[in-house]
């Protein structure tokens, strides 16, 4: 997927002035977080389970090679095939090769973030194979030729009216000419269009929420059932997954399942949790005859042993973005690559390069809500801080900013001088403000004062007031 994270500031500016985006993303505030809080409060064991999940993920990462080998062995025992891919390019080629072997003209797809990372849809289209997204949200944005703006609600930024127009423009070829405006009617129409696609598809591609080492199973979690139709009707099922998704046992999957849906949507369980193991068995009368697991590394293994290894614990639930004031304000696309919100701010610099994504770790107020709600307790603010430091140290941060930070550091290291300077600034600002007590325009701080007034200091600094109070024995 093309990276546009460099444009973060411009993108944020546009998003803040876009009525549709503002409406859609401000709705996030009242939906997901309240549902999560409710379901967490109904499970007294929730916080303890989060600790167990964090520790289990750490254990898995420390033994990742062992569990991956075990998983591979089990998949093969069950009659499936495992393909190892270092890079996106390799993974795209492997998937194309399997599709060609199956003489595929169309493939249906369940929701998968790794195939977004890989840019799989464009690649298949370029090679004459039509990919059809079947998750309703993914289907909508595929029609609009856009990318997801939320990892579990990809079409969050689309209004109902936009969906009406998209369906009207794209469904005429199926003889469906009515301009539908009722959400239920829109869902019904998508349902009937996609029904034929499931049946016609030669290959079904899904992602995986988990890989089970014990049984060689891949697991998908959905609410619509599209992933299940995708993987059970075509002759060939390809599950594409990144390598860190492996878990040792079915019981371990159970631990994560108690956290995943609750953290994401506030459900106790998503509607469908499906374990797929090998191809259909000899006597089975449905199911795919071929089962392939495509395992993609592409940067994951480089996080191991680094100060950002904790990112590999991510379950992709979306809780961090649901609770992020910056995400709610600027929307998903502004982040400029697959993962928006705090997880994107912490992960994307690694995946696409710090130079490209240098704004993202700054797109945070460090309010800490993301870490508070992360089911596997990823210290997202800490990782963003690491990136900020790294950007400064490797001179990715532009000169004026570096100079500014340098000046601040100079004074911060000299407390007496620092106090003197703050005393002078506080008084100057008070003078500038005059009687009104606010400053309309500040030199060098247009970013602030162009949209709001700057509250002027009262005159004395905190340290001065503190000392005064101490003297007076208060």
């Amino acid at each position: 997927m093309q990276v546009t994270s460099r444009r973060f500031k411009e993108g944020a500016h546009d998003a803040l002035h876009d009525k549709n985006i503002q409406e859609a993303f401000s709705k996030v505030k009242s939906g997901f977080p309240l549902a999560r809080a409710k379901s967490a409060s109904e499970l007294p064991e929730f916080e303890g389970l989060r600790d167990e999940a964090r520790d289990l993920k750490n254990h898995i990462l420390e033994n990742l090679d062992y569990y991956l080998e075990y998983f591979e062995e089990q998949v093969q025992l069950q009659g499936g095939r495992v393909h190892w891919c270092s890079s996106y390019a390799e993974a795209r080629e492997v998937v194309l090769h399997i599709c060609r072997d199956a003489n595929a003209k169309t493939v249906t797809k369940g929701k998968s973030m790794i195939t977004e990372e890989m840019g799989l849809n464009d690649y298949l289209s370029e090679h004459g194979i039509e990919p059809i997204e079947t998750d309703l949200g993914e289907y909508i944005i595929q029609l609009a030729d856009e990318h997801p703006s939320h990892i579990i609600a990809p079409a969050l930024h689309k209004t109902k009216d936009q969906v009406t127009e998209l369906f009207h423009a794209n469904h005429a070829k199926y003889g469906l000419n009515e301009r539908l405006t009722d959400p239920q009617a829109l869902v019904n129409e998508a349902r009937s269009v996609l029904r034929d696609k499931y049946v016609a598809a030669d290959v079904g591609i899904t992602g995986a929420n988990f890989l089970i080492a014990e049984t060689g199973s891949t697991v998908i979690v959905t609410n619509e059932g599209n992933g299940d139709l995708t993987q059970s009707l075509p002759k060939t099922h390809i599950a594409v997954s990144s390598i860190e998704k492996v878990v040792p046992t079915l019981e371990d999957a159970g631990l994560f399942l108690r956290l995943l849906a609750r953290s994401a949507t506030g459900q106790e369980m998503s509607v469908y949790t499906t374990f797929s193991t090998g191809p259909k068995r000899m006597e089975d009368i449905d199911g795919p005859a071929n089962f392939h697991v495509v395992l993609v590394d592409s940067g994951r293994s480089d996080l191991l042993g680094s100060d950002k290894q904790d990112l590999l614990r991510c379950l992709k639930c979306g809780a961090c973005m649901n609770h992020c004031p910056v995400y709610q304000a600027v929307g998903g696309h502004t982040y400029g690559w697959v993962y928006p919100g705090p997880i994107g701010a912490a992960l994307n610099p690694h995946m696409v390069g710090l130079e490209e994504a240098r704004h993202l770790p700054n797109a945070s107020t460090f309010c800490g809500r993301c870490e508070e709600v992360c089911p596997v307790r990823i210290p997202l603010p800490k990782i963003m801080r690491h990136w900020r430091e790294q950007a400064f140290e490797t001179q990715v941060t532009p000169k004026p900013e570096r100079w500014g930070i340098g000046v601040w550091a100079y004074f911060a290291k000299r407390p007496k001088l620092y106090r003197l300077m703050t005393r002078i600034s506080a008084r100057t600002l008070k003078l500038m403000a005059g009687k009104k007590g606010v400053i309309r325009k500040l030199p060098l701080m247009k970013g602030w004062s162009s949209v709001r007034d700057f509250p002027a200091p009262e005159g004395a600094t905190f340290m001065d007031q503190w000392k005064k109070q101490q003297r007076e024995g208060k």
Binding site: Y66, Q74, T249, S276, L295
Partner: protein
């Protein structure tokens, strides 16, 4: 170097070690084979009868509907009543499961019973469950020659028969049942955990039922007595 080797080399290099040593590998293998559970929510620590009730409450909260009947022979009539009440077609695609084959469908001559995997034109399916999870009101269905999993997804209306004895507290107990039947480390091609009917929130975060899978899930609980 092939990608597989490269990936493993990078993992080990970054973890600062070689391949997992034999002692450690034995421990990891034992951990896998031990099936050690994590913390189990206390809400399921109740009698079996209460678990069956909890299963019903939870399933209904997920927008599934539940009818309780006292024995398997009552399934055809309960099915007919459900279809009539919802004005649904009387043509049923039924899982070719011997347990369902013995049902007295001669009592309900208006029901047209077909057996096999699902086809796009099927509107109602009837399948047995493998087990039930009281904790969340979740059905567990296992694929097999007698239980094709397309029946769980293609038809708009899915009727599931489950015996009270198949219901237990947690997902972990379903794993134990599956291991007992298929052997540890082996699962059928598809295990479906189903918690209510299909839904989506993808249009303006409005909840709409029946996105791709069944719009309606109706569960017939056969009160056959204590747990298996």
């Amino acid at each position: 170097m092939p990608s597989r080797d490269r990936i493993f080399a990078r993992i080990r290099h970054n973890l600062g070690r070689g391949p997992v040593k034999e002692d450690a590998a034995n421990l990891l293998r034992a951990r896998i084979e031990g099936h050690v559970p994590h913390t189990i929510p206390k809400r399921t620590d109740i009698s079996h009868k209460e678990q069956v009730d909890l299963f019903q409450v939870k399933a209904e909260a997920l927008d599934a509907t539940v009818t309780r009947i006292s024995n398997m022979e009552d399934v055809p009539e309960a099915l007919r009543d459900y279809l009539t009440a919802h004005n649904l077609p009387s043509r049923i695609k039924m899982a070719p499961d011997p347990a369902l084959d013995t049902l007295p469908f001669d009592k309900t001559p208006m029901l047209e019973i077909l057996r096999g995997a699902a086809a796009p034109e099927d509107e109602v399916s009837l399948t047995p469950a493998f087990s039930g999870i009281a904790e969340t009101g979740t059905l567990c269905l296992a694929s097999g020659p007698e239980t094709p999993s397309t029946l769980n997804f293609l038809p708009e209306n899915h009727v599931v028969v489950i015996k009270a004895s198949q219901i237990s507290g947690t997902m972990e107990e379903s794993w134990a049942r599956l291991r007992k039947k298929f052997g540890a480390g082996n699962l059928p091609r598809t295990i479906n955990f189903i918690s209510g009917p299909s839904r989506t929130g993808d249009i303006e975060q409005t909840l709409i039922m029946g996105a791709h899978g069944p719009r309606r899930v109706h569960i017939l609980i056969v009160d056959d007595g204590p747990q298996d």
